[in-house]
Symmetry: C2
Subunit: 226 residues, 2 copies
Amino acid sequence: MTALRAPEAYTAPVEDYLKAIYEIERGAGAAATTDIAQRLAIAPASVSGMIRRLAEQGLVAHERYHGVRLTDDGRRVALRTLRRHRVIEAYLTRALGYAWDRVHDEAERLEHAASEELIDRMAAAVGEPAVDPHGAPIPTREGEIDDRDHSALVELEPRRWARVVRVSDDDAARLRYLGELGLVPGARVKLLDRAPFGGPIRLRVGGRECAIGPALAAVVGVEAEE
Amino acid sequence: MTALRAPEAYTAPVEDYLKAIYEIERGAGAAATTDIAQRLAIAPASVSGMIRRLAEQGLVAHERYHGVRLTDDGRRVALRTLRRHRVIEAYLTRALGYAWDRVHDEAERLEHAASEELIDRMAAAVGEPAVDPHGAPIPTREGEIDDRDHSALVELEPRRWARVVRVSDDDAARLRYLGELGLVPGARVKLLDRAPFGGPIRLRVGGRECAIGPALAAVVGVEAEE
DNA sequence: CGTGTGATTTAGGATATCCTAAATCCTGTT
DNA sequence: AACAGGATTTAGGATATCCTAAATCACACG
């Protein structure tokens, strides 16, 4: 429960590692070296080195050969960075007319340079959004986040209507395609049927029909309608 | 006349050095190691090292023991960075309600992270401003800049009216004080009289009178009215 | 219950940036 | 024209981040 350093005191790589560890932890409990390496496109050996430094700073707990977990401090830094990232994404789309597939890279750089004041002003200017353009929840200034899980479109029962709540944002081309199909947060979607053996999944989105593969359907989070 | 690298290819320190050299060159012809060091608050020995690297990249021409000058490439990078800095300052004040004494530090960090697209969108959103909140000219997208010099308030003839066109932006407290006095770009000012031996300079600014020292009056750029 | 394979760490380097201390250079003044 | 003092560069280090190659570990399977 040490006082966190000022935001500027953490380097961009440190913030990126903590964000990655946060995301991996959500799915896997502990973040393995290889998973971090893959997510950040960095050699595993480099990750080992960074993990040592993060542990020395009390941002992660490291059990040798068994991955890392964020400490409370580490989680706070991760959530602060996530808040910045997502507020920036929301601001760029709502206030500056960015396409939703162009905001990720911009936010990835700005999140390390923006002050708390800027983030708060941006958030206020677009009405304190709760989610970013891809449906990801925005942590509050106090570090709280809506961490409920969604089911994926691929898991939806046939003939059921659902609402898209979130899409994965780390591939611009994929985002553009989802946008063309109308698979954006808020859209209503019905799973018509699913071909076996990884075959196409037919959907009704708004008034149109389309078919997508299971890999794509796995990155679309939905909430089934009652 | 090599093609410049993408903006992201220059590190933040490199951009900072080039900006500093640009500003120093405007006054002095060539930028001396010590001047660069002082402006960036860095040891002269470190500047020597960076100068070597900048020269290797063709961004500056270095004559040993006689300072550096920007090459055409170096000037382009400097002006691009300056454009970013000033567009960001203008945007923060006009679109996000920042006080004019808070924008410098924020811009100093964001200028290294903002894409060309972001800068262009920001500039468009606040009406393609020609100057930043402190009156400094904003280079165009093509790298052109209004580089006319102004006379300083301290040099104004007594009893003459002038218009403030620019103030130095590198000290927030000073900026706040100038703001309180009404000495902001666009303000009309009349030099009433000047005490000798570095004594106070009495002014009429708008409807009020005030007196400032010559050091402060030296950082206020003015244009005498006909 | 040994063993191989994949995960992880260590060893040894490279780069960019900064520092202090010690040389070296330049120039204006005597 | 020599020299002192200030400016500049070199020498030697520190830190953070990344890399490849080699060693080491853990666990599941035969």
